[in-house]
């Protein structure tokens, strides 16, 4: 690899960071909501 510090590459990758982190948080929130609902719905059943 030839070292080629590239601000352009950096600027192009910043939106990926934004999309990636946003995506993780979005999926996480959906999973949290689903687990919360599951816990509520099944809380009356026999506990493990």
């Amino acid at each position: 690899m030839n070292f080629n510090f590239s601000v352009d590459n950096l600027m192009n990758s910043l939106p990926i960071m934004g999309k990636g982190m946003l995506g993780i948080f979005a999926v996480t929130v959906v999973i949290i909501l689903v687990v919360t609902v599951l816990n509520k719905v099944t809380s009356g059943k026999k506990k493990q």
Partner: protein, 364 residues
């Protein structure tokens, strides 16, 4: 005698360096008990493939073609074992812990930007960044799908740093937290979790991640399949086999297969050192991300969270949660953070796979 002479003359200095690296990996595995199931075969394999005119190289290469190059089978099968090992109860009991797991993937995307800045192609930068998933199979899967040119260094870095979590994380945690924050006590707030929830969780999570990042559904799917075997309650023998025999067998072969790419020509180059450094950056900023989200949450919460537990979101299960627990006890011997840290730690396992999937969806 002539052949012996010929072979000795064929030894190159790079090969000797690889023998030393192999020896170091074996030393770490045996003496320091660092990921021995993986580092030992990797170390031995590194010596094996770097002998002059090594006849083993072809065999190990065949293993690589079958187990990794052809559909990433080994990392995926290993995920069944890992899924069977993980008890998601602490997470299901406190689902908000998933936020820490998500935040602790920050290092992946930070490193992606940094590697891009250093001039790596987007595919290589993303493959290097995924070292921050702190999850060997995910790193191998993503780097292989993205056809990275740096697979050996990525694999070695991913597994080495996982083993080095107890050394890497504590200074970062101390640097990012005040003594007062480290002393925050956390009560046991866990609630009972029904069997139905435990069974439905792996299925629903697979569906959600599959819809968001179809390319990564194999990763999360195999992990959750392993967990379903564990939680269904009717396959206990299979679950035990997956956790122990299957996981150990695959890890041994994975280790020696990874070594097939540790030939002197492929491994001894400046890029390897840079990738090892970037991997470290990923781990550091993962830890930073997890701690910072806890600090931000503390601004709004009445009942404060010990921000150290955010560091456990790095995935590396269960080392990271143990590190946090030990650090909590070192500050206050009555502060038991283990269950909280384990909850965050297993959430990190899921979040790292989601991160891998998103990287494939965005970059791939």
């Amino acid at each position: 005698m002539e052949i012996l002479y010929e072979n000795i003359l064929a030894i190159e200095w790079k090969m000797v360096v690889m023998w030393i690296i192999g020896g170091l990996l074996i030393f770490l595995a045996i003496k320091k008990d660092m990921e021995p199931t993986l580092l030992l075969p990797m170390g031995f394999g590194a010596i094996l493939v770097n002998l002059p005119h090594s006849g083993a190289a072809e065999v190990v290469n065949r293993l690589f073609d079958i187990g990794i190059d052809n559909g990433e089978l080994m990392p995926l099968i290993l995920f069944i074992g890992i899924g069977a090992m993980i008890d998601f109860t602490p997470l299901l009991s406190n689902p908000k812990y998933m936020i820490f797991g998500a935040a602790a993937q920050f290092g992946i995307f930070f490193t992606l930007c940094l590697a891009s800045f250093f001039g790596y192609s987007l595919n290589d930068a993303a493959s290097i960044a995924i070292i921050g998933a702190a999850d060997g199979p995910t790193s191998i899967f993503v780097a292989q799908v993205l056809k990275s040119n740096y697979l050996p260094a990525i694999m070695v870095a991913a597994y080495s740093y996982m083993a080095l979590v107890p050394i890497v994380q504590p200074p970062i945690i101390k640097l990012c937290t005040t003594k007062k924050e480290r002393l925050i006590r956390m009560d046991d707030t866990s609630k009972p979790v029904s069997r139905t929830t435990k069974i439905l969780f792996p299925i629903i999570t697979t569906i959600i991640v599959g819809l968001v990042a179809p390319d990564a559904v194999a990763l999360i799917g195999f992990l959750m399949f392993g967990n379903l075997i564990r939680e269904c309650g009717v396959l206990n023998s299979l679950s035990e086999t997956a956790q122990k025999v299957l996981a150990n067998l695959i890890t041994i072969f994975l280790g020696i297969t990874i070594a097939s790419r540790m030939t002197a020509e492929e491994f001894i180059r400046l890029d390897t050192i840079i990738i090892l450094c970037l991997g470290l950056v990923a781990f550091v900023f993962d830890t930073f991300g997890g701690i910072m989200i806890a600090k931000i949450m503390n601004i709004f919460l009445k009942k404060k969270i010990n921000p150290m537990i955010g560091a456990a979101g790095i995935s590396a299960f269960p080392m990271s949660s143990r590190v946090v627990h030990k650090m909590g006890l070192a500050e206050d011997n009555q502060n038991f953070l283990l269950m909280h840290a384990v909850g965050v730690n297993v959430s990190g396992q899921i979040a790292s796979v989601i991160a891998g999937g998103l990287i494939l969806a965005i970059v791939g």
